[in-house]
């Protein structure tokens, strides 16, 4: 059961400024007391968006001009901190298909790719250009071209990077590895058979 290949992602963007946006900020731990991922989208960036008394803070994520955005633009080391998949799950469930950042924390990147959330890297300068383009034209459609390492908007474009393994997986629709892993069952039992600690 391979998934639909992802060659391009198109949508409106929203800029979430800051480096080291950690997983506690993406989804605060107190919202992780759940046994399914359903409904997590509602708590995405909760403490970034809301004051302690629950009112909306002034933030792009609360700004109606960026409502309906499906591409997040942020800083360096995005997704650092926890291995919790709750973070990319809440991004996905809040309606985002892609994140453009300066760099990604490794586990976050892997978790996101497995879910088909496209994570691409763009330079500080290029992200600044995109952020200001979004600011001036919030309705602007941004397209991330996974195949050709390109982010385009209006009549402009900037280069972006995506790890080759992740790119292949997205393009072939194999980003969820489970089916391929299941096929290897016989070889798995051979490898396990050679390791004393694996024996029942």
């Amino acid at each position: 059961m391979s998934s639909t290949p992802i060659k391009k992602v198109t949508g409106k963007g929203v800029f979430v400024p800051g480096d080291d946006i950690d997983t506690d900020r993406i989804i605060p731990a107190r919202f992780m007391k759940c046994i399914t991922f359903d409904g997590l989208g509602e708590y995405l960036f909760h403490d970034v968006r809301k004051t302690e008394s629950g009112e909306d803070k002034k933030h792009n994520l609360n700004d109606s001009r960026f409502a309906g955005a499906s591409i997040l633009v942020s800083g360096n080391n995005f997704g650092c901190g926890s291995s919790r998949e709750h973070a990319p799950q809440s991004i996905l469930r809040a309606g985002y298909d892609a994140v453009i950042a300066g760099s990604f924390a490794e586990i976050f990147f892997g978790n996101s790719t497995n879910l088909g959330v496209v994570c691409v890297i763009a330079s500080d300068a290029d992200r600044e250009i995109i952020a200001s383009a979004i600011e001036t034209h919030p309705e602007l459609e941004i397209t991330i071209d996974v195949e050709n390492h390109k982010i385009s908007y209006g009549d402009q474009s900037v280069p972006c990077e995506i790890k080759p393994g992740a790119r292949d997986s997205l393009l072939s629709g194999n980003y969820d590895p489970l089916d391929e892993l299941l096929v290897g069952a016989d070889e798995v039992s051979k490898t396990a058979g050679a390791l004393p600690y694996m024996q029942a």
Partner: protein, 474 residues
């Protein structure tokens, strides 16, 4: 060809190459807890798959358990639902569960080693970023996401890219009052929170040779805070000594065979690394974080950096953001910051030796007025031994609260939380905004002794002055 431990363990567990170039890697030991596993069991049910190697998965409950309430149902129905879900999933799938009534429950990264489940030369995965803790035994241990928990349950494997290996040598003797926690805070300060991206960290050198297993665990635990998904120490006699006689350790003839095999996994003496970093232990100071990432730390004698000290605009922005959140002034001394809460515990510093060390020094001291100080054992096993040694009495006498085993105030998933913008001296591993439960709560990471010093003085202090380390044995 000579190889590192990482390469040897990887090769022994590599099943095959996948189409996208990743490796299908056998995960020998799988640890699960209540936060990141229920969705994975759900995904298995959705696809009608079963747990392939149930005897290689072990479960415990840690994040949501209240530490001051032992009778179920818990007052928080969500927490109660989570523990029941895990209980059912384990029972339905024949997975061993160290439940709260077994005397073995605790934080997953404390339970695995103390039960002897964590062994050298193995691969370990857990849906938890601090899984590298188990690397202290010479295991390759990964934090994974929930979809990968599903993959391990269904296939006992995950798809992974091989990592590079950076050897971090720490040589020499740590000054008195400087602990394993300071070593890792120092390393992260030095190499940055992203420095380890793409790397496994191999910790070595005479300092590590002399470290106990618990000290090695403290360092490996925070590898992820330095961006490294994996961190490990080569197995040696200290490792074998620790494991001997533990419930899940091999016994009899199998023990000798295992030790021989474990030794063979250690990095070859002449192997080459992708990178090498050398650190002089005598230069490491008691280290305290002042900001909102674990890399934002300074020695206790130093001042908090000023915005203008940072060389680039993006670093200046980071410092400014951290100072604003922490309500600190750039350039002010770290010493003397008034604290509201002191927390000793977590998978970084919630082991017996942490409590023994603190007990040794807090005897005869009192927690400062207005400070809430809590000590939380990492597991029921740790709690029992500590209580048998009478440590709990020493803590209570000094004004600390002694709690039941769990993650407690390390993160905000149980009743132990900061309130408002309280400032907490914490022996845990993360100082992210809101980490300890209040969106404006502030965390300063430090060693348990430094937390104890802050607790009794009411402010960030040099434990060496407070407890008279100068006269202590080197």
């Amino acid at each position: 060809m000579s190889k590192s431990l990482f390469e040897k363990v990887w090769d022994a567990h590599a099943v095959r190459q996948l189409v996208n170039g990743q490796t299908q890697l056998l995960i020998g030991t799988h640890l699960i807890h209540e936060v990141t596993s229920p969705q994975a069991f759900g995904m298995l049910r959705d696809r009608d798959l079963k747990v392939q190697y149930p005897h290689r998965t072990f479960a415990t409950v840690d994040h949501i358990v209240p530490t001051n309430e032992s009778v179920e149902p818990y007052s928080d129905p969500l927490a109660q639902g989570m523990i029941e879900e895990l209980r059912n999933n384990c029972a339905d799938n024949n997975v061993t569960f160290f439940d709260t009534n077994t005397g073995k429950q605790g934080v997953v990264h404390i339970v695995g080693p103390e039960q002897g489940i964590t062994q050298p030369g193995t691969t370990i995965a857990c849906g938890d970023s601090h899984t590298a803790t188990h690397g202290a035994f010479g295991a390759i241990a990964f934090g994974i996401g929930t979809s990968q928990v599903r993959d391990v349950l269904a296939t006992q494997t995950i798809a992974l890219n091989e990592l590079k290996v950076r050897r971090i040598n720490v040589n020499g003797t740590l000054p008195p009052g400087v602990y394993a926690k300071d070593v890792i805070l120092h390393i992260i300060r030095l190499l940055g929170t992203q420095g380890g991206t793409g790397y496994a960290y191999e910790y070595a050198g005479t300092t590590f040779d002399k470290f106990t297993m618990e000290e090695r665990m403290t360092v490996c635990n925070m590898s992820i805070e330095g961006g490294a998904r994996v961190g490990y120490v080569n197995p040696d006699e200290t490792t074998f000594e620790y494991l001997k006689g533990r419930p899940y350790s091999p016994k009899g003839a199998a023990w000798d065979a295992a030790v021989d095999q474990w030794k063979s996994f250690a990095s070859d003496t002449n192997c080459t690394f992708d990178d090498v970093v050398d650190i002089d232990a005598s230069h490491i100071q008691p280290t305290v974080t002042w900001g909102i990432t674990p890399g934002q730390g300074v020695g206790i004698e130093e001042s908090i950096p000023a915005i203008s000290d940072a060389p680039t605009q993006s670093e200046r922005d980071s410092v400014a953001e951290a100072l604003e959140y922490m309500q600190f002034e750039g350039g002010s001394p770290i010493k003397g910051k008034k604290i509201d809460v002191a927390f000793i515990g977590s998978c970084t510093n919630g082991r017996l030796s942490d409590f023994q060390e603190v007990a040794k020094y807090v005897k005869g001291h009192k927690v400062a007025e207005g400070v809430q100080a809590i000590i939380v054992p990492g597991s029921q096993v740790v709690a029992k031994i500590a209580e048998d040694l009478g440590l709990d009495k020493i803590f209570i006498e000094a004004g600390f609260e002694w709690r039941a085993a769990g993650c407690s105030m390390c993160l905000a998933m149980n009743p132990d939380k900061l309130v408002g913008d309280q400032l907490c001296a914490s022996s845990s591993n993360r100082n992210f905004k809101g980490r300890q439960g209040s969106p404006t709560g502030r965390t300063m990471l430090m060693s348990p002794i430094m937390v104890a010093a802050a607790a009794v003085t009411g402010q960030v202090s040099d434990a060496r002055d407070v407890f008279g380390f100068a006269s202590a044995e080197v």
